[in-house]
Symmetry: C2
DNA sequence: AGTGAAACGACCGTAGA
DNA sequence: TCTACGGTCGTTTCACT
Protein backbone atom coordinates (compact mmCIF):
# COMPACT_ATOMS: atom_id res chain seq x y z
CA UNK A 1 0.00 0.00 0.00
CA UNK A 2 2.78 2.40 0.85
CA UNK A 3 4.64 4.28 -1.86
CA UNK A 4 8.24 5.30 -1.60
CA UNK A 5 8.00 8.91 -0.63
CA UNK A 6 9.48 11.42 -3.01
CA UNK A 7 12.40 12.93 -1.24
CA UNK A 8 13.04 16.57 -1.87
CA UNK A 9 16.30 17.10 -0.05
CA UNK A 10 15.31 19.94 2.22
CA UNK A 11 18.68 21.66 2.50
CA UNK A 12 17.70 23.50 5.58
CA UNK A 13 20.62 22.66 7.79
CA UNK A 14 19.26 19.53 9.44
CA UNK A 15 21.73 16.65 9.70
CA UNK A 16 20.33 13.75 7.74
CA UNK A 17 20.05 10.20 9.05
CA UNK A 18 21.23 8.88 5.73
CA UNK A 19 24.17 10.13 3.74
CA UNK A 20 24.05 10.51 -0.01
CA UNK A 21 25.73 7.12 -0.34
CA UNK A 22 22.92 5.53 1.52
CA UNK A 23 24.74 4.58 4.69
CA UNK A 24 22.94 4.98 7.98
CA UNK A 25 24.06 6.90 11.01
CA UNK A 26 25.15 4.97 14.09
CA UNK A 27 21.78 5.26 15.83
CA UNK A 28 19.83 3.90 12.89
CA UNK A 29 22.27 1.03 12.56
CA UNK A 30 21.59 0.07 16.16
CA UNK A 31 17.84 0.33 15.63
CA UNK A 32 17.99 -1.82 12.50
CA UNK A 33 20.17 -4.38 14.26
CA UNK A 34 17.61 -4.75 17.04
CA UNK A 35 14.71 -5.02 14.60
CA UNK A 36 16.58 -7.75 12.76
CA UNK A 37 16.45 -9.79 15.94
CA UNK A 38 12.77 -9.10 16.54
CA UNK A 39 10.77 -7.06 14.08
CA UNK A 40 7.91 -6.55 16.55
CA UNK A 41 10.05 -5.23 19.36
CA UNK A 42 8.41 -2.15 20.84
CA UNK A 43 9.76 1.33 20.23
CA UNK A 44 9.78 1.91 23.98
CA UNK A 45 12.10 -1.00 24.65
CA UNK A 46 14.37 -0.10 21.74
CA UNK A 47 14.47 3.46 23.03
CA UNK A 48 15.48 2.31 26.51
CA UNK A 49 18.31 0.20 25.12
CA UNK A 50 19.81 2.92 22.97
CA UNK A 51 18.93 5.90 25.14
CA UNK A 52 16.30 7.64 23.03
CA UNK A 53 12.67 8.48 23.54
CA UNK A 54 9.99 6.23 22.11
CA UNK A 55 8.87 8.91 19.65
CA UNK A 56 12.37 9.42 18.30
CA UNK A 57 12.77 5.71 17.62
CA UNK A 58 9.35 5.52 15.98
CA UNK A 59 10.02 8.45 13.68
CA UNK A 60 13.37 7.02 12.63
CA UNK A 61 11.83 3.61 11.91
CA UNK A 62 9.00 5.21 9.94
CA UNK A 63 11.45 7.19 7.86
CA UNK A 64 13.56 4.14 7.09
CA UNK A 65 10.46 2.20 6.05
CA UNK A 66 9.19 5.07 3.88
CA UNK A 67 12.61 5.52 2.28
CA UNK A 68 12.84 1.84 1.41
CA UNK A 69 15.94 1.33 3.52
CA UNK A 70 14.30 -1.66 5.16
CA UNK A 71 11.03 -3.47 5.52
CA UNK A 72 9.65 -5.35 8.49
CA UNK A 73 8.08 -8.56 7.28
CA UNK A 74 7.28 -12.15 8.13
CA UNK A 75 9.79 -14.48 6.52
CA UNK A 76 8.65 -18.07 6.26
CA UNK A 77 10.75 -21.17 6.50
CA UNK A 78 10.33 -23.09 3.21
CA UNK A 79 10.88 -26.44 4.96
CA UNK A 80 8.16 -25.76 7.49
CA UNK A 81 5.88 -24.62 4.69
CA UNK A 82 6.13 -28.03 3.07
CA UNK A 83 8.75 -27.17 0.45
CA UNK A 84 11.46 -29.74 0.95
CA UNK A 85 13.43 -28.99 -2.18
CA UNK A 86 15.13 -25.77 -3.11
CA UNK A 87 17.50 -25.14 -5.97
CA UNK A 88 19.28 -22.48 -7.94
CA UNK A 89 18.75 -22.68 -11.69
CA UNK A 90 21.43 -21.26 -13.93
CA UNK A 91 19.92 -20.21 -17.26
CA UNK A 92 21.53 -19.20 -20.53
CA UNK A 93 19.40 -17.26 -22.95
CA UNK A 94 19.67 -17.08 -26.72
CA UNK A 95 16.65 -14.81 -27.17
CA UNK A 96 15.27 -11.79 -25.36
CA UNK A 97 16.45 -11.72 -21.75
CA UNK A 98 13.71 -9.31 -20.67
CA UNK A 99 11.05 -11.60 -22.08
CA UNK A 100 12.50 -14.65 -20.36
CA UNK A 101 12.84 -12.74 -17.10
CA UNK A 102 9.20 -11.70 -17.26
CA UNK A 103 8.01 -15.24 -17.92
CA UNK A 104 10.09 -16.55 -15.02
CA UNK A 105 8.64 -13.96 -12.68
CA UNK A 106 5.17 -15.27 -13.42
CA UNK A 107 6.05 -18.71 -12.08
CA UNK A 108 4.78 -19.12 -8.54
CA UNK A 109 7.60 -21.39 -7.43
CA UNK A 110 10.34 -18.89 -8.23
CA UNK A 111 11.01 -16.51 -5.40
CA UNK A 112 13.60 -14.37 -7.09
CA UNK A 113 15.59 -14.09 -10.27
CA UNK A 114 18.91 -12.40 -10.82
CA UNK A 115 20.20 -11.04 -14.12
CA UNK A 116 23.90 -11.85 -14.06
CA UNK A 117 27.14 -11.54 -15.91
CA UNK A 118 29.11 -14.78 -16.22
CA UNK A 119 28.48 -18.30 -17.39
CA UNK A 120 24.73 -17.78 -16.96
CA UNK A 121 22.50 -14.92 -17.96
CA UNK A 122 19.93 -15.53 -15.25
CA UNK A 123 19.95 -17.22 -11.87
CA UNK A 124 16.57 -18.20 -10.45
CA UNK A 125 15.90 -19.56 -6.99
CA UNK A 126 13.13 -22.13 -7.06
CA UNK A 127 11.37 -24.27 -4.51
CA UNK A 128 9.18 -27.36 -4.76
CA UNK A 129 7.36 -29.83 -2.57
CA UNK A 130 9.56 -32.76 -3.60
CA UNK A 131 11.92 -34.04 -6.30
CA UNK A 132 9.00 -34.95 -8.50
CA UNK A 133 7.54 -31.46 -8.63
CA UNK A 134 11.01 -29.92 -8.88
CA UNK A 135 11.60 -31.89 -12.08
CA UNK A 136 8.16 -30.98 -13.35
CA UNK A 137 8.89 -27.33 -12.68
CA UNK A 138 12.25 -27.27 -14.42
CA UNK A 139 11.41 -29.51 -17.38
CA UNK A 140 7.82 -28.57 -18.11
CA UNK A 141 7.66 -24.94 -17.04
CA UNK A 142 11.08 -23.32 -17.14
CA UNK A 143 12.66 -25.12 -20.10
CA UNK A 144 9.59 -24.50 -22.25
CA UNK A 145 10.05 -20.72 -22.17
CA UNK A 146 10.96 -19.25 -25.58
CA UNK A 147 14.50 -17.96 -25.72
CA UNK A 148 15.97 -20.22 -23.04
CA UNK A 149 19.05 -22.02 -24.33
CA UNK A 150 20.26 -24.23 -21.47
CA UNK A 151 19.46 -24.68 -17.79
CA UNK A 152 21.65 -26.07 -15.06
CA UNK A 153 20.28 -27.10 -11.70
CA UNK A 154 22.03 -26.69 -8.36
CA UNK A 155 20.04 -28.59 -5.79
CA UNK A 156 20.36 -27.34 -2.24
CA UNK A 157 21.70 -30.01 0.06
CA UNK A 158 21.91 -27.68 3.02
CA UNK A 159 21.27 -23.99 3.54
CA UNK A 160 23.60 -22.42 6.06
CA UNK A 161 22.93 -19.29 8.01
CA UNK A 162 20.39 -17.53 5.86
CA UNK A 163 20.48 -13.99 7.11
CA UNK A 164 18.71 -10.78 6.32
CA UNK A 165 21.09 -8.30 7.84
CA UNK A 166 23.07 -6.93 4.95
CA UNK A 167 25.46 -4.32 6.09
CA UNK A 168 24.48 -4.13 9.73
CA UNK A 169 26.73 -6.71 11.29
CA UNK B 1 16.85 -17.33 22.82
CA UNK B 2 13.82 -19.39 21.95
CA UNK B 3 14.02 -23.11 21.39
CA UNK B 4 11.88 -24.96 18.92
CA UNK B 5 9.25 -26.53 21.08
CA UNK B 6 9.03 -30.31 21.04
CA UNK B 7 5.72 -31.24 19.54
CA UNK B 8 4.03 -34.24 21.03
CA UNK B 9 1.11 -34.76 18.70
CA UNK B 10 -1.71 -34.83 21.19
CA UNK B 11 -4.14 -37.02 19.30
CA UNK B 12 -7.07 -35.83 21.29
CA UNK B 13 -9.33 -34.81 18.51
CA UNK B 14 -8.27 -31.19 18.12
CA UNK B 15 -7.59 -30.07 14.56
CA UNK B 16 -3.97 -29.03 14.33
CA UNK B 17 -2.78 -25.80 12.72
CA UNK B 18 0.05 -27.65 11.02
CA UNK B 19 -0.19 -31.01 9.32
CA UNK B 20 2.57 -33.56 9.53
CA UNK B 21 3.89 -32.32 6.22
CA UNK B 22 4.36 -28.87 7.65
CA UNK B 23 1.66 -27.07 5.72
CA UNK B 24 -0.43 -24.51 7.52
CA UNK B 25 -4.17 -24.39 7.87
CA UNK B 26 -6.13 -21.77 5.93
CA UNK B 27 -6.33 -19.32 8.84
CA UNK B 28 -2.59 -19.37 9.49
CA UNK B 29 -1.91 -18.86 5.79
CA UNK B 30 -4.02 -15.71 5.85
CA UNK B 31 -2.27 -14.46 8.97
CA UNK B 32 1.16 -15.09 7.45
CA UNK B 33 0.13 -13.40 4.21
CA UNK B 34 -0.88 -10.26 6.11
CA UNK B 35 2.31 -10.24 8.17
CA UNK B 36 4.32 -10.50 4.96
CA UNK B 37 2.80 -7.18 3.92
CA UNK B 38 3.43 -5.53 7.27
CA UNK B 39 5.22 -7.41 10.02
CA UNK B 40 4.13 -4.92 12.68
CA UNK B 41 0.44 -5.02 11.91
CA UNK B 42 -1.54 -5.29 15.14
CA UNK B 43 -3.22 -8.53 16.18
CA UNK B 44 -6.44 -6.60 16.64
CA UNK B 45 -6.52 -5.42 13.04
CA UNK B 46 -5.54 -8.85 11.69
CA UNK B 47 -8.29 -10.37 13.80
CA UNK B 48 -10.86 -7.96 12.41
CA UNK B 49 -9.89 -8.78 8.85
CA UNK B 50 -10.07 -12.53 9.26
CA UNK B 51 -12.83 -12.70 11.83
CA UNK B 52 -10.95 -13.90 14.89
CA UNK B 53 -10.34 -12.45 18.32
CA UNK B 54 -7.10 -10.63 19.08
CA UNK B 55 -6.00 -13.39 21.48
CA UNK B 56 -6.56 -16.14 18.92
CA UNK B 57 -4.40 -14.32 16.36
CA UNK B 58 -1.75 -13.63 18.98
CA UNK B 59 -1.59 -17.26 20.11
CA UNK B 60 -1.35 -18.48 16.52
CA UNK B 61 1.42 -16.02 15.66
CA UNK B 62 3.31 -16.94 18.84
CA UNK B 63 3.05 -20.61 18.02
CA UNK B 64 4.30 -20.11 14.47
CA UNK B 65 7.24 -18.07 15.74
CA UNK B 66 8.07 -20.64 18.43
CA UNK B 67 7.79 -23.50 15.95
CA UNK B 68 10.16 -21.81 13.52
CA UNK B 69 7.52 -21.65 10.80
CA UNK B 70 8.29 -17.97 10.31
CA UNK B 71 10.16 -15.06 11.80
CA UNK B 72 9.26 -11.41 11.81
CA UNK B 73 12.35 -9.37 11.05
CA UNK B 74 13.68 -6.20 9.50
CA UNK B 75 15.07 -6.89 6.04
CA UNK B 76 17.42 -4.24 4.76
CA UNK B 77 17.90 -3.12 1.18
CA UNK B 78 21.58 -3.72 0.31
CA UNK B 79 21.59 -0.82 -2.18
CA UNK B 80 20.29 1.60 0.42
CA UNK B 81 22.83 0.29 2.89
CA UNK B 82 25.65 1.33 0.58
CA UNK B 83 26.36 -2.09 -0.94
CA UNK B 84 26.20 -1.51 -4.65
CA UNK B 85 27.61 -4.87 -5.72
CA UNK B 86 26.14 -8.26 -5.10
CA UNK B 87 27.23 -11.55 -6.57
CA UNK B 88 26.85 -15.29 -6.34
CA UNK B 89 30.10 -17.18 -6.04
CA UNK B 90 30.19 -20.76 -7.27
CA UNK B 91 32.87 -22.70 -5.43
CA UNK B 92 34.37 -26.12 -6.07
CA UNK B 93 36.15 -27.76 -3.18
CA UNK B 94 38.96 -30.32 -3.26
CA UNK B 95 39.32 -30.54 0.50
CA UNK B 96 36.95 -30.65 3.44
CA UNK B 97 33.61 -29.06 2.53
CA UNK B 98 32.60 -28.57 6.16
CA UNK B 99 35.83 -26.72 6.88
CA UNK B 100 35.40 -24.47 3.85
CA UNK B 101 31.75 -23.82 4.73
CA UNK B 102 32.73 -22.82 8.26
CA UNK B 103 35.41 -20.43 7.03
CA UNK B 104 32.99 -18.84 4.57
CA UNK B 105 30.41 -18.32 7.30
CA UNK B 106 32.94 -16.27 9.24
CA UNK B 107 33.22 -13.74 6.42
CA UNK B 108 31.08 -10.70 7.17
CA UNK B 109 30.25 -9.98 3.54
CA UNK B 110 28.65 -13.36 2.91
CA UNK B 111 24.99 -13.45 3.80
CA UNK B 112 24.36 -17.08 3.09
CA UNK B 113 26.00 -20.17 1.70
CA UNK B 114 24.38 -23.17 0.12
CA UNK B 115 25.85 -26.66 -0.05
CA UNK B 116 24.82 -27.89 -3.49
CA UNK B 117 24.93 -30.80 -5.86
CA UNK B 118 26.02 -29.94 -9.39
CA UNK B 119 28.90 -28.13 -11.01
CA UNK B 120 29.70 -26.38 -7.76
CA UNK B 121 29.92 -27.70 -4.23
CA UNK B 122 29.01 -24.43 -2.58
CA UNK B 123 27.17 -21.29 -3.65
CA UNK B 124 27.76 -18.18 -1.58
CA UNK B 125 25.93 -14.89 -1.91
CA UNK B 126 28.25 -11.98 -1.28
CA UNK B 127 27.92 -8.22 -1.21
CA UNK B 128 30.43 -5.38 -1.36
CA UNK B 129 30.57 -1.61 -1.46
CA UNK B 130 31.99 -1.48 -4.97
CA UNK B 131 33.89 -3.48 -7.61
CA UNK B 132 37.15 -2.85 -5.83
CA UNK B 133 36.08 -4.38 -2.55
CA UNK B 134 34.26 -7.19 -4.35
CA UNK B 135 37.53 -8.19 -6.00
CA UNK B 136 39.36 -7.85 -2.72
CA UNK B 137 36.78 -10.09 -1.06
CA UNK B 138 36.90 -12.83 -3.68
CA UNK B 139 40.64 -12.82 -4.37
CA UNK B 140 42.06 -12.10 -0.94
CA UNK B 141 39.52 -13.63 1.40
CA UNK B 142 37.56 -16.39 -0.31
CA UNK B 143 40.19 -17.82 -2.65
CA UNK B 144 42.73 -18.04 0.17
CA UNK B 145 40.67 -20.59 2.10
CA UNK B 146 42.31 -24.03 2.28
CA UNK B 147 40.48 -26.64 0.26
CA UNK B 148 38.94 -24.32 -2.29
CA UNK B 149 39.69 -25.46 -5.81
CA UNK B 150 38.05 -22.93 -8.12
CA UNK B 151 35.65 -20.02 -7.79
CA UNK B 152 33.36 -18.53 -10.38
CA UNK B 153 31.71 -15.17 -9.95
CA UNK B 154 28.21 -14.24 -11.10
CA UNK B 155 27.83 -10.52 -10.69
CA UNK B 156 24.29 -9.29 -10.20
CA UNK B 157 23.28 -6.85 -12.89
CA UNK B 158 19.74 -6.61 -11.63
CA UNK B 159 17.75 -8.26 -8.87
CA UNK B 160 14.12 -8.85 -9.77
CA UNK B 161 11.34 -9.28 -7.30
CA UNK B 162 13.09 -10.47 -4.21
CA UNK B 163 10.35 -11.96 -2.11
CA UNK B 164 10.07 -13.57 1.27
CA UNK B 165 6.76 -15.34 0.89
CA UNK B 166 7.63 -18.92 0.17
CA UNK B 167 4.55 -20.97 -0.15
CA UNK B 168 1.97 -18.38 0.79
CA UNK B 169 1.19 -16.77 -2.52
C1' DA C 1 15.26 15.99 15.48
C1' DG C 2 14.20 15.56 19.83
C1' DT C 3 11.21 15.45 24.55
C1' DG C 4 7.18 14.82 27.69
C1' DA C 5 2.45 14.14 28.84
C1' DA C 6 -2.30 12.71 28.25
C1' DA C 7 -5.66 9.89 25.75
C1' DC C 8 -6.29 6.08 23.37
C1' DG C 9 -5.52 1.51 21.65
C1' DA C 10 -2.95 -2.85 21.72
C1' DC C 11 -1.09 -6.56 24.25
C1' DC C 12 -0.89 -10.11 27.78
C1' DG C 13 -2.38 -13.47 31.11
C1' DT C 14 -5.91 -16.07 32.62
C1' DA C 15 -10.60 -18.09 33.34
C1' DG C 16 -14.14 -20.46 31.26
C1' DA C 17 -16.23 -22.96 27.36
C1' DT D 1 -8.29 -23.77 20.45
C1' DC D 2 -11.43 -20.15 21.05
C1' DT D 3 -13.65 -15.84 23.48
C1' DA D 4 -14.02 -12.39 27.13
C1' DC D 5 -12.18 -9.31 30.19
C1' DG D 6 -9.08 -6.41 33.24
C1' DG D 7 -4.55 -4.75 34.13
C1' DT D 8 -0.49 -3.14 31.98
C1' DC D 9 2.14 -1.34 28.48
C1' DG D 10 2.82 0.76 23.82
C1' DT D 11 1.46 4.15 20.44
C1' DT D 12 -0.26 8.48 18.84
C1' DT D 13 -0.81 13.27 18.86
C1' DC D 14 0.48 17.68 20.11
C1' DA D 15 2.71 21.56 22.27
C1' DC D 16 7.35 22.85 23.23
C1' DT D 17 12.51 23.02 22.55
Amino acid sequence: MKKKQSIVSSDQGNESQTTHEGTLDAINKRIVALLQEDGRRSYVSIGKEIGLSEAAVRLRVQKMLDDGVMQIVAVTNPMEMGFRRQAMVGITVDGDIEYVAQKLKDIRQIDYIIITAGRFDILAEVFAEDDESMLELVNRQIRKIDGIDRTELFTYMRLESQRYDWGVR
